[in-house]
Amino acid sequence: MESPEHSTGARIGMWLFLLSEILLFGGLFLLYATYRWKHPGDFHAASQELSRLDGTLNTAILLTSSLTMALSIFTLSRERSARSTRRASLFLGATILMGCAFLVVKGFEWAAKFRHGLYPSSPVLLARPPGEILYFGLYFAMTGLHALHVIVGLCVLSTMLALLLRGSVGPERVAPVENAGLYWHLVDIIWIFLFPLFYLIS
């Protein structure tokens, strides 16, 4: 049974790391804030090319994955039994599946853009007004960096699932799963902000 002090220390460490992630994306939000202020019309026009349906779908997917993540941890910390471990694994597996679904949708979105010739430095894009070039530059940079974090999150969650099935983590030792969950929720929160900024410009 791990000591409460040690698990608190690990939790503090994870939160501090999350802080650094917020600031990492923060730099990109600074660029977005500046360029949108400079080119409001271009940003609006360019955002029309994104599929609001895909964006909303992805938002729903990530929100649901946050739910299953939270339920996975809740199950582990509430009850110590083989059944609860199994249920927690199912919730965790669902989280991972939804994370993959998110990436699939995102992949289709990007592919659609590429098919229309919209990617950084493409001739089609460079012919557009500067505000639109910047919009798409930020779109690929920010959703790309976010997707990278989703991938890392999925690796971490998969590792947790493997450890959970093996018994190295579980009701006796919830902290690693909790901390992995914190990371996953942050990935969700970043998307909660990316969604309106890129898809809901009116």
Partner: protein
């Protein structure tokens, strides 16, 4: 045969013999030494590059190296000194070795993360050094990588920048470790206001490491993305604003100088009470000043951009904030000097360096006020005045703080003592050389000598030569100082457990410490700077 039960921390125990026992160790003391060797090695390389620049500067028309080489020299000198040496040095060497001991703990909160930080640091450093040899040539952009030049120059910018990114990640993780350790691992009775001020220095710094470093992280990633994919965020041809690069860059790189100086100031705060055998004047004031410098120092980055084309409003705001941040630093100087008053002063080598710190940081800080005022800055921006200023604060401040820490904690770390007389002579040579070198730069800059120039007008030649001679004297002093310390390490006399009569926890354990630091975790009952009367000194 020691009287103590436990063997010194560096004796070969554990599962892995030899070098593997070092580079895979999670013990905070071993990791501190790994950083010590790495940082000082990179420092030596960067000093050599600096000497080459000073040889080049002997002649107005240049000619010692090619112009492109000169650009590479000042770029790589800056990158190594800033990212490989000065930013990491005190937190990773002395923070790792001593933070757990100073707060009465056995190790950092995350020992394996600590080792990982060192591996990240070494990987980043190797990537930076590799970038000098691979691709189309070493970077020539200056350590600041300003766009649009860094996007257009054909040399290997992406790899160099990626190396710095890794170094930044290492710094963030070290910061996470230090904050968590300070909150979680203090011994019973060690409240926040009983911690040594060196811990306050490390703690304030760690917050800046966590909050500011990611901003340069993303900025460097964007440089790579711009070069590889042409994303457009900094490219004027695509609507990008090069000034936004400068904002993002300096949002980190200004607080970075506080990452450099706050731990050094913390060490000075520990030293002044010990060498005047008197409690520090204004403990809480100094502690809160560390936090104030860390926070207000994160608001002033635009003072690097007064002539960049940013708005006058921004310049005025940043200038005002720059003057504000000088206040807590000055408060600290007043507290240190007041601590000396009616103290029982002993000028041993650590204290010599601490005094040197005060003098040099004072000059550096005052020249910083000149630069922070808008009208003078227009005249001295990008001149040798700036170069002189930052060498006074970084080298004179952080550097001398590092040397003070080395001389102070050397006997504790290694159980041996160095020669005091030689250390004193080395200090004097170093101090004289330093001032001849950099004071002349201040004058040169004021007279109009631009920085990062390969050649210069003949009228600057006499002062340039004096400055170069100063640099050689200074390097001589450095060699003497390090030579003395190495000699002490190899052949020094055995050091007592508490050679300076310090009252903080590291002096209550053997020199050198055992692997576990304390046989029994102490219970702290008083402040860190309570001394017995001189007659009672043991």
């Amino acid at each position: 045969m020691h009287a103590h039960a436990a063997a010194p921390w560096y004796t070969d125990e554990g599962r892995r013999p030899g070098i593997r026992g070092w580079i895979f160790s999670t013990n905070h003391k071993r990791i501190g030494i790994l950083y010590l060797v790495a940082v000082l090695s990179f420092f030596a390389v960067a000093v050599v590059l600096g000497v080459l620049m000073r040889i080049q500067s002997l002649r107005p028309e240049g000619g010692f190296v090619a112009p492109q080489t000169y650009n590479v020299l000042f770029s790589v000198h800056g990158i190594i000194q800033i990212f490989l040496v000065v930013i990491p040095a005190i937190p990773t060497i002395f923070g790792n070795f001593f933070l757990p001991i100073l707060i009465g703990g056995r190790d950092m909160a995350f020992p394996r993360l600590n080792l990982f930080s060192w591996w990240l640091y070494m990987t980043g450093a190797v990537v930076v050094l590799l970038s000098l040899a691979l691709g189309k040539g070493p970077v020539d952009t200056g350590w600041t990588f300003y766009v649009p030049y860094s996007l257009r120059t054909t040399v290997n910018v992406p790899l160099a920048v990626f190396g710095v990114f890794l170094l930044g990640m290492s710094s963030i993780l070290t910061g996470v470790n230090i904050v968590t350790t300070t909150h979680q691992m203090r011994a019973p009775g060690m409240g926040f206001f009983r911690m040594p001020l060196s811990v306050w220095g490390l703690y304030s710094t760690a917050w800046v490491q966590i909050l500011a470093t990611p901003v340069i992280g993303i900025t460097l990633v964007l440089i790579i993305m711009e070069r590889l994919f042409g994303v457009g965020v900094f490219d004027p041809a695509k609507g990008g604003d090069p000034l936004l690069y400068q904002h993002l860059f300096w949002i980190y790189s200004h607080p970075a100088v506080y990452i450099m100086i706050l731990p050094a100031m913390g060490i000075i705060s520990d030293l002044f009470p010990v060498f005047s055998r008197k409690n520090i004047v204004g403990y809480k004031t100094v502690a809160f000043s560390s936090l104030a410098i860390a926070s207000v120092g994160s608001l002033v980055w635009g003072h690097h951009m007064f002539v960049s084309g940013q708005s006058d409003t921004a310049s005025i705001v940043f200038s005002l904030l720059t003057f504000l941040v000088a206040v807590p630093s000055a408060i600290k100087v007043f507290n240190w000097v007041a601590t000396l008053y009616k103290g029982s002063i002993k000028v041993d080598p650590p204290f010599l360096y601490a005094l040197g710190f005060i003098a040099l940081f004072l000059i550096g800080g005052l020249t910083g006020l000149v630069l922070g005022a808008l009208s003078p800055d227009v005249h001295v921006h990008d001149t040798y005045f700036v170069v002189g200023h930052f060498h006074y604060v970084i080298f004179g401040g952080m550097g001398f703080g590092l040397f003070a820490a080395l001389h102070y904690w050397f006997p504790k770390m290694f159980g041996k003592m160095y020669n005091f007389k030689f250390a004193t002579v080395a200090f004097l040579v170093l101090f004289v050389g330093f001032n001849v070198f950099y004071m002349t730069m201040l004058i040169l800059g004021w007279a109009g000598m631009p920085r990062r120039y390969y050649s210069y007008l003949p009228q600057f030649a006499p002062l340039q030569r004096i400055s170069s001679i100063g640099s050689y004297i200074m390097v001589g002093g450095l060699a003497m100082m390090f030579g003395n310390l190495i000699h002490g390490f190899l052949r020094g006399k055995k050091a007592p457990d508490n050679p300076w009569g310090g009252a903080t926890l590291e002096w209550q354990i053997p020199s050198p410490p055992s692997a576990e630091n304390f046989e029994e975790i102490p219970t702290v009952t008083g402040g860190p700077y309570v001394f017995s009367k001189p007659e009672e000194k043991d």
